[in-house]
């Protein structure tokens, strides 16, 4: 499909405002003005609608396809939350309104949403306070790491290191590093954190340990109570990567378990759409002792029920976002939490875990499952045997799934499982969908044994086949002619 620029017909009218009476040069010196035009396409409204409708048809999405993409939690995104976020009372609200005289009252509905969402997230996780400011999970990690640094600096601790297990998301070490820490990686044992390895790495210079629970293998960290004690014993802080919170809702509150800082991914656990890669939202919660370091501004509520923004927190790390984070995303998560309530959220984790274990059991004879025991919301399989016996890799299985109208699992992650296929079905997929997935996987593994060549050629039913990524990186064609 040609690019939108190739479809341009000079002179064609799109959605234009009225003709101005003047030109910019009537007010601004010529030498401050642009020479020439930017060469944007000239298209009719229908041209644009048809082009982008055409592009949309070349995408998989949760609305159309099963998307068992591990770690990403591609659950169904309720439609009503889109309408909620689009209400003019929210979508037209200027972010600087609260800074105007009397502005708190003029934005009290929005401030209440922030306040209440933070309060609900506190109750869900057992943390003492939350901020909605971070705009994605990785942004939340950076915010958390900056708060850990501020806490230690305030106490006069000389802390330079952060420990991450080798199963961690790549964002964990990257965020810690950007916050100014050195990163120490520790090896897992039997798929989970090994307390001995941790003990060997723990010293007085350790600012904290970043953990994902359940971890990226979908396994519960059963040494958690011991780990918490060990880390706190050196005045280290426990950081919770909330990518997998959807597995423990109502069954474990990380605040109760002893975590000091957590980030959540509203676009995972709380069903806001992923949008092809964003926008997300990565709120951060803290235990009592880290409250002074939360980013500003913060929403407060007085005895009369009035909401107000406050900035006077001398120990705060400052501003991680210009305003209040991705408010439009938080709105959707807030509406989702209200819709489900305590019981609904508990059913989310239960059914997510049920579905993952069901798939694990049904596929255990067809795929290698390196840690084949009760898992939580996801499990990691491996294509190692298929690779040895018939040269079919995880990548080939992924592409064969695309051919059959199913999105691939996450592949080659976590790094500690070779030929990894990470499967997360979520609670919103029906048993019929799960069974169909099992049938397809069995068929693909059968085909791997009998006709491996055909899998190496997959996908053939998608708009394009496997693309030459080496050429893309070398040729670096990242725009149309400028």
């Amino acid at each position: 499909m040609s690019t939108v620029f190739k479809k341009s017909v000079p002179g064609r009218e799109g959605v234009w405002p009225e003709k101005p009476r003047t030109e910019p040069r009537d007010f601004i010196d010529e030498n401050l003005l642009r020479a020439g035009q930017p060469n944007l396409p000239s298209l009719s409204e229908l041209d644009v609608v048809r082009h982008f409708t055409g592009l949309s048809k070349k995408n998989f999405g949760v609305d159309g396809e099963f998307y068992p993409l591990g770690s990403c939690t591609m659950k169904y995104n309720p439609k009503f939350t889109e309408e909620v976020a689009a209400l003019p009372g929210f979508s037209r609200l200027h972010p600087m309104t609260p800074q105007l005289p009397g502005g708190g009252e003029m934005s009290s509905g929005a401030l209440e949403v922030i306040y209440e969402t933070e309060r609900l997230l506190c109750e869900i996780t057992g943390m003492s306070a939350f901020t909605l400011h971070p705009m994605a999970g990785a942004h939340g990690e950076l915010t958390g790491a900056l708060m850990m640094a501020a806490y230690h600096a305030d106490k006069g601790n000389k802390k330079t290191k952060i420990i991450c297990p080798d199963s961690a998301h790549g964002t964990n070490p990257a965020s810690a590093s950007i916050a100014g820490f050195d990163v120490v990686s520790i090896a897992s044992a039997d798929g989970i954190v090994d307390p001995d390895q941790l003990a060997a790495a723990l010293d007085d210079e350790v600012a904290g340990v970043m953990l994902t629970v359940p971890n990226t293998l979908g396994l519960f960290e059963k040494h958690l109570p011991r780990i918490v004690d060990m880390v706190h014993a050196v005045d280290g802080l426990l950081y919770y990567d909330g990518a997998n919170l959807n597995a423990i809702l109502g069954h474990l509150r990380v605040g109760d378990a002893g975590f000091d800082v957590v980030h959540l991914n509203l676009h995972k656990t709380f069903a806001t759409p992923h949008g092809g890669g964003g926008p997300g939202s990565g709120p951060v919660g803290v235990s009592e002792k880290l409250i002074p370091y939360l980013p500003i501004s913060r929403v407060t509520r007085d005895d009369a029920g009035r909401y107000k923004l406050k900035y006077d927190y001398p120990k705060s790390i400052g501003y991680v976002a210009p305003f209040y984070g991705n408010f439009g995303v938080a709105l959707k998560a807030y509406a989702y939490i209200l819709r489900l309530g305590a019981e609904g959220l508990t059913r989310v984790s239960e059914n997510a875990v049920l579905a993952a274990n069901y798939l694990r059991k049904r596929l255990e004879n067809d795929l290698d499952i390196p840690y084949n025991r009760l898992c939580m919301h996801e499990f990691v399989a491996s294509a190692c045997s298929a690779q040895k016996t018939c040269g079919v890799r995880a990548l080939d299985i992924a592409k064969a799934l695309l051919d059959r109208g199913i999105h691939a699992p996450t592949i080659y992650f976590p790094l500690i499982v070779k030929e990894a296929l990470m499967v997360e079905p979520t609670e919103t997929e029906s048993k019929a969908t799960l069974d169909a997935f099992v049938d397809v996987m069995k068929e693909i593994m059968e085909q791997a044994a009998t006709d491996p060549e055909s899998l190496l050629a997959a996908p053939v039913n998608t708009p394009v086949g496997r693309l030459d990524e080496t050429h893309a990186a070398r040729a670096m064609e990242i725009t149309e002619d400028l």
Partner: protein, 444 residues
């Protein structure tokens, strides 16, 4: 239970396959001592009840007043077709395009977005966008620090204070020296900025139009930076870019922008779009996703995420940035908006906004006790100084249903009487006339 489809019979069948008798058995590994001390959330609500609740909250926000509030975040018209296209589930319920064969829609859109913003700013390379204009500027500074291996950054005080406070938070632990060069009555002090650039300087950072709405040409300053082997970073305003001299023409190395003006709702601060563009030889320092064009075995054109070796999922702590997501849907919205407008539509938006602002400035300064902060050229926003406190003036006008702009004293001590006033193509002359009448009334 909403959004959970299993019947009790199906649950039983699934438990049987797993070989456990109850759902609770699936959570057996969580020790009793770690069980929640409370989970005191309200009971669930129907969709209808949640919507009614949200509508009640939305109604408490004052969004129906005439407003001249901008300060970097602008209420431009959003064409209906853009909302309609954005709500296609194939776009908004997709994930990051790691599987390119089933993500060509998102990937081609990113490629087209990259092209459109490069053309708009006359820059050579763009990524798929970062969180917002503030983080884009921070990432630009970090690009310069990595590229030059220097630690000093010169920033004009006329750069948005909202960006500068974010920059300060992120760089605090990194031993960077942020040198802020004071503004001169709302104008960038180009001479002082040039003087501040030395052999230790990684970058000089300016904004055009600057926070006060002032329009300038930084060609000379950027040449000075080049002499000292420092990079030039400029933050722009996409809608006005059809009118104003481009960052590319000024010789900027990196240009960032808040993309909100390209059809994104104000939405109380987000989600927005951080536009990031640069010169070709800096592309490997750029964070975030980048889509590139290639082909498959049959020679068919396709698009992939490229240069991923910069990113955290490969490089972990050595990555150029920790950023994982982008604002794909926001970038798509910006692209659709640019396509619906085209050169002519966007130029008209810019020209009407500039025209309205100049009309407002002329009418306001004709009043006794009102003058412009400076005589510099401006685009669609300008600062006026009253013979009275600007917050007081604003408060009185808001009682009459008009938000007259942003009182500057909050970020610029000494400018307590100054107000930043913005216009877009959505303002009518009668709205501006009413603003002027009310200002006249409250100043009397």
């Amino acid at each position: 239970m909403p959004y959970i489809p299993h019947t009790p019979e199906e649950v039983r069948e699934m438990l049987d396959v797993i070989g456990v008798s109850r759902i609770d058995d699936l959570f057996a590994e969580i020790p009793e001592a770690l069980r929640p001390k409370s989970f005191n959330l309200p009971a669930g609500m129907t969709e209808m009840a949640v919507r009614a609740h949200m509508e009640r909250l939305a109604a408490q926000n004052a969004v129906h007043m005439d407003s001249f509030l901008g300060a970097g975040f602008y209420d431009h018209y959003v064409p209906s077709a853009s909302d309609a296209l954005l709500l296609r589930g194939e776009f908004y319920t997709a994930y990051t395009p790691y599987q390119p064969e089933c993500s060509q829609g998102t990937l081609q859109a990113i490629f087209e977005y990259q092209t459109a913003v490069c053309r708009l700013f006359e820059m050579e390379c763009s990524n798929a966008g970062v969180y917002d204009g503030g983080t884009a500027l921070y990432e630009a500074v970090m690009m310069a620090v990595r590229q030059t291996r220097r630690k000093k950054v010169v920033v004009s005080e006329a750069v948005s204070p909202i960006y500068r406070i974010v920059l300060a938070t992120y760089t605090k632990n990194l031993k960077l020296a942020l040198v802020t060069v004071p503004h001169d009555k709302g104008r960038d002090d180009a001479a002082a900025l040039a003087d501040a650039i030395d052999d230790q300087t990684a970058a000089v950072v300016v904004q055009n139009p600057n926070f006060f709405g002032v329009v300038a040409d930084f060609t000379g300053l950027f040449a000075k930076a080049r002499e000292k082997k420092a990079l030039s970073i400029i933050s722009g305003y996409p809608v006005l870019q059809t009118a104003l001299k481009t960052p590319g023409a000024m010789g900027a190395d990196i240009c960032t922008a808040e993309g909100q003006s390209l059809g994104l709702p104000l939405s109380f601060g987000g989600p927005y779009l951080g536009v990031m563009t640069c010169r070709k030889d800096l592309v490997r320092q750029m964070p975030g996703r980048i889509a590139g064009r290639t082909f498959d075995a049959k020679g068919r054109t396709g698009y992939v995420l490229t240069l991923q070796a910069r990113e955290q999922h490969i490089r972990r702590q050595k990555a150029t940035s920790n950023i994982c997501s982008n604002q794909a849907l926001c970038a798509l919205r910006a692209l659709i908006n640019l396509c619906l407008s085209g050169n002519e539509g966007l130029s008209r938006q810019a020209a009407l906004s500039i025209e309205n602002a100049h009309y407002a400035a002329k009418r306001l300064t004709a009043l006794p006790g009102v003058e412009l902060l400076n005589d510099a050229p401006f685009g669609n926003e300008f600062a006026v100084v009253f013979n009275d406190n600007a917050r007081r003036v604003a408060r009185l006008l808001m009682r009459e249903g008009v938000i007259p702009g942003f009182p500057l004293g909050r970020y610029y001590p000494g400018l307590e009487n100054a107000l930043l006033v913005c216009c877009t193509e959505k303002h009518h002359r009668k709205d501006i006339d009413r603003l002027v009448r009310l200002v006249e009334k409250v100043l009397q």
